[in-house]
């Protein structure tokens, strides 16, 4: 949103494709609708707190900016480095091509395979937040929150305001992580830390039981979740439970960047991939065959580039937009030191080094036992993957072909990092796979009817209307700035 506003106010024509029906991404999800539904939503809005409502100013500017062509409910199922974007809206599909593409596809929660994580009744913290914001629902019954990261505390605090009292908050992080992390506190990050301390204090006051340094999480039950087992302070705990909410931090959503043939890098300490980008978000092509040639026209911004949260995403979005405007010659390229938007990016990321050290991956820290499902879609266990690897399968795509791991409807979104780590476990020293499974369009389900009827709904912009793997270079496709 901030990128689009910046570009549009400089006179550019901007098309925004958004999977959601309303602007706001996941952080400000359904904010407009919840504001309009007041006073019915007053309790919800006060539980979600001022940081949620603060998004309204940005949304209003986005709605008001002339030159933004907002297309809600639109799924992107193909992206190519030359700026070609395959879209689906309702039952209509087509291609667009633009001289500059800003990819702001956000983050996903770190996949955390543990025994029982596929049972009905196990959900991520982000899922519960989405159900609150967009579904106006709150969890009820016996609830356990398990994992690590600021979102656990934020969610617990929001639940507290709704009068929902979890039976336990089971944290994988320890006090030692916090003490070690204190070294990394920077002055600009202090407000964020103060917020965290406030959440903790209020949860303590509300008498919500909390354990740190837990491990060995298991979800138990037959057809649905019945109880949770974990190891805390050297002792096994069994807690009867209706809803287990897990969270292990968030990682960049790399599916579109990877499919576009952009270079990713493996972050060892974070056990995740992220795209390789310049400071202004410009992506780089991966050194492998791709659908397109020529300069890469994609910039990546927000959490899809580096995890930093809403403020950092908005700041970097503006920064990436300024870089595009400089490319277009609409503003002077700055000389020397960092400009205003770059300084803002630094300020908003100031708390990250502390947060990353204070909340290291927990549920996913150890690789799963042999019996645990890694691939949720095809129900492939870590054990059968280890057997294939021991028998010589040393490549992600080969293993996908052999076992169907990553071949289900989610296309490997939930299992790719775990499989990459299982490969590394088998052969220590071996470099991490440079990317997840090879990706091919469509990246998301595309109804055959839409595919058959595919047209360019925008004659001016949709120069590519065929299904050819490699769209032809079209002269003069730079006219839409």
């Amino acid at each position: 949103m901030s990128s689009a506003i910046e570009l549009a106010s400089a006179g550019c024509r901007v098309i925004v494709l958004d999977m959601q029906p309303l602007p706001g991404g996941q952080i400000f999800r359904s904010l407009e609708a919840n504001m309009q539904a007041r006073p019915r939503t007053d309790a919800l809005l006060s539980a979600l707190g001022p940081a949620y409502r603060a998004g309204l100013a940005l949304i209003e500017r986005f709605r008001a900016a002339p030159g933004i062509d907002f297309r809600p409910g639109t799924t992107v199922w193909d992206l190519r480095a030359d700026g070609t974007v395959g879209w689906l809206r309702g039952n209509a599909a087509g291609y667009l091509r633009a001289p500059h593409v800003v990819l702001a596809s956000g983050a996903m929660e770190r996949p955390t395979p543990f025994p029982g994580w596929t049972l009905p009744g196990v959900m991520t913290a982000g899922a519960v937040q989405t159900l609150m914001k967009a579904g106006r629902l709150k969890p009820e019954g016996r609830i356990v929150l398990a994992g690590t990261g600021p979102l656990i505390f934020l969610l617990a605090d929001q639940l507290r305001r709704l009068g929902v009292k979890p039976a336990l908050i089971a944290r994988t992080d320890r006090l030692g992580d916090k003490l070690a992390a204190l070294k990394r506190v920077r002055p600009a990050g202090i407000p964020a830390l103060a917020k965290g301390v406030g959440w903790l204090a209020r949860l303590r006051l509300a008498g919500i039981p909390m354990r740190t340094g837990i491990s060995g999480l298991q979800a138990l039950g037959g057809e649905h979740l019945e109880s949770v087992r974990l190891l805390a302070g050297g002792k096994n705990m069994d807690i009867p439970c209706d809803l287990l909410v897990v969270h292990d931090g968030i990682v960049p959503s790399t599916d579109l960047a990877h499919a576009a043939g952009l270079a990713l890098e493996w972050k060892r300490d974070d056990a995740s991939w992220r795209p390789r980008t310049a400071r202004d978000g410009r992506a780089r092509m991966a050194p492998c065959p791709s659908f397109t040639t020529g300069p890469c026209r994609i910039r990546i911004t927000g959490d899809a580039r580096r995890i930093g949260g809403a403020d950092a995403a908005a700041a970097h979005g503006r920064h990436a937009a300024r870089a595009i405007l400089a490319d277009l010659g609409r503003i002077a390229r700055k000389q020397g030191g960092p400009d205003r938007t770059e300084a803002e990016v630094r300020r908003t990321l100031a708390a990250r080094p502390f947060l990353d050290a204070a909340f290291p991956p927990g549920l996913a820290a150890r690789l799963p036992d042999d019996a645990t499902i890694v691939c949720r879609c095809e129900e492939i266990t870590a054990g059968s993957l280890r057997v294939a690897i021991r028998n010589g399968a040393a490549d992600m795509n080969l293993i996908r072909g052999l076992l169907r791991c990553g071949m289900g409807p989610c296309q490997g979104r939930s299992c790719a990092t775990t499989l990459a780590r299982l490969l590394a476990e088998a052969e220590p020293g071996r470099p991490m796979p440079p990317s997840p499974f090879r990706a091919r369009p469509p990246l998301r389900p595309l109804p055959l009817g839409a595919l058959a009827g595919m047209t360019g709904l925008d004659p001016a912009l949709a120069q590519v209307e065929s299904l050819d793997d490699k769209p032809e270079e079209i002269a003069g496709d730079d006219v839409h700035a």
Binding site: R40, T130, K138, P139, H224, E378, G408, P409
Partner: protein, 101 residues
Amino acid sequence: MFAPIGSTEATMTIYLDGRAIPARAGETIAACLLRAGVGHFRTTPVSGARRLPYCMIGHCFDCLIEIDGVGSRQACLSEVEDGMRLHTQDGPAAIAGMEFQ
């Protein structure tokens, strides 16, 4: 597992396997069914295990359900529409007139 925050203001009706469920304009099918206490949206094609939504943002595909005759649609990304007919999906999606193993 989930209860409404405030009143639901349901003005629509959707049907799951023939059962009428009140729905609120603008909510996702997943939210609507979870509020109604539906225990599973689908079973897996491999072991027949029951699944409910896991991520709610379109990543995990555990919320797949049959919507108006079309199988394997993501309930967490689809909004309710009045009169919509949903079916719990057993295993892989069926294609009209065909059954897969």
